[in-house]
Symmetry: C2
Subunit: 240 residues, 2 copies
């Protein structure tokens, strides 16, 4: 709980925060805390080959004072052939500005729908409709389930699905505070909120020694973000 | 694979069918087969206390010639306090006509959204957008996520979520062939398609000997369905 941004972990209304352990979701968790929510972080382990993400999520949840952190395994066979679950090669060396031109091999079928559905179940059982997720439609990797029209449609569906919503006891609200932010703005926002990015993990394809490849889309976006923010990435500089 | 309704298991386009192991989902699987789909049955085990459902699903998938059957565990803690996961009492002795008047304690937070999200991931990885589910809005238990407006909203969201949908390679279609059928019609349809209801399971709260309680909503709806269809329930009569 040390070094956390925001208030005491038990204060405020509850919110569920999707937490992958990367830069965006860590920043999103810090924002939810700063907005006064008692955060319940949810990490889904779906056999992604960058499993160090799950470890990073645990560290980040503790660092940012989440009231609870749940890691859920989901059978990776369900998601079939994505580069992130080992069935295809992770693209390397692409220009971040070109990434959004096509949906890449790292797309995972229905990933955000599965994540949000699980978050929704937990949220209703906690008595809240507030769900935060760190999706981004600017410096994003071209995934359709990161677009604002997708989020609007999910929210609408969710308000028809839940007993508590139908009975007027809550309203499902998807909070995507990073949706229209550049990676540079995201890194700057998180740094201001005290996020230690040295605890986060971004690489899709670490080397055998467990170091980031620095060539996959995610590594390149991260590097671009720190450069644009004028900050050094503590993952490489050794500092926080 | 013996005694199945429909064609050969490997024929036709693929569809994912949500299969709980009860009367409705078994009938729905038989309908999907009869419509020429190569069925991929999906059973989610979320810690429901009627775990005999999961065993029933396995038997039904084999009986009805599903090309594949996947059972997925999902952490029951996520769903909090539902009578189906053990946190509250299962209501008994209610009149089926009164069940739809209020959402009962057997409601499970976001259950169909979680089930459909998982089905959606599997469907896209199989290259299909066809998903069958046995929900019913006539003799139903008053669940909001069994209503047509919910299904429409899910379908709309799903067509914005999937890469294959956005790229025009498939369209997500939720097939709910039982939506406007009475329980009696459902039993009659299934019987005509050769469904052996002696393999299915409905009870929310079996006795210690593993026998149906015959008093929970699900048992009473089942009994009402067989009575209306003018058929004997093979679960009690010992025959098929």
């Amino acid at each position: 709980m040390e070094g956390r941004a925001g208030g005491a972990p038990d204060a405020g209304p509850a919110a569920v925060v999707l937490l992958s352990g990367g830069v965006d979701s860590a920043t999103c968790l810090a924002i939810a805390r700063a907005r006064g929510f008692r955060t319940h972080a949810l990490t889904v382990h779906y056999g992604q080959r960058h499993a160090c993400e799950v470890e990073a999520a645990r560290r980040v949840a503790a660092h940012l004072g989440a009231a609870a952190h749940r890691t859920l395994p989901v059978d990776p066979g369900l998601f079939g052939g994505s580069a992130l679950t080992g069935a295809a090669a992770v693209p390397k060396g692409r220009d971040p500005r070109a990434m959004a031109a096509a949906i890449p091999a790292t797309y995972v079928p229905a990933r955000n729908t599965v994540f949000l559905a699980l978050a929704l179940a937990w949220a209703e059982s906690l008595g809240t409709g507030d769900i935060f997720l760190g999706v981004n439609a600017v410096d994003y990797s071209g995934y359709p389930d990161c677009r604002p029209e997708y989020l609007d449609a999910f929210e609408r569906m969710a308000n028809l699905a839940l007993k508590a919503a139908v009975e007027g006891r809550l309203t499902v609200r998807l909070h995507a505070p990073l949706l229209r932010r550049t990676k540079g703005e995201i890194v700057r926002m998180g740094a201001e909120l005290g996020v230690d990015y040295g605890l986060t993990w971004s690489c899709y394809d670490p080397d055998p020694g467990g170091r980031p490849c620095r060539e996959c889309d995610s590594c390149r976006l991260r590097a671009q973000g720190f450069a644009a923010a004028g900050l050094r990435d503590p993952l490489f500089s050794g500092g926080a």
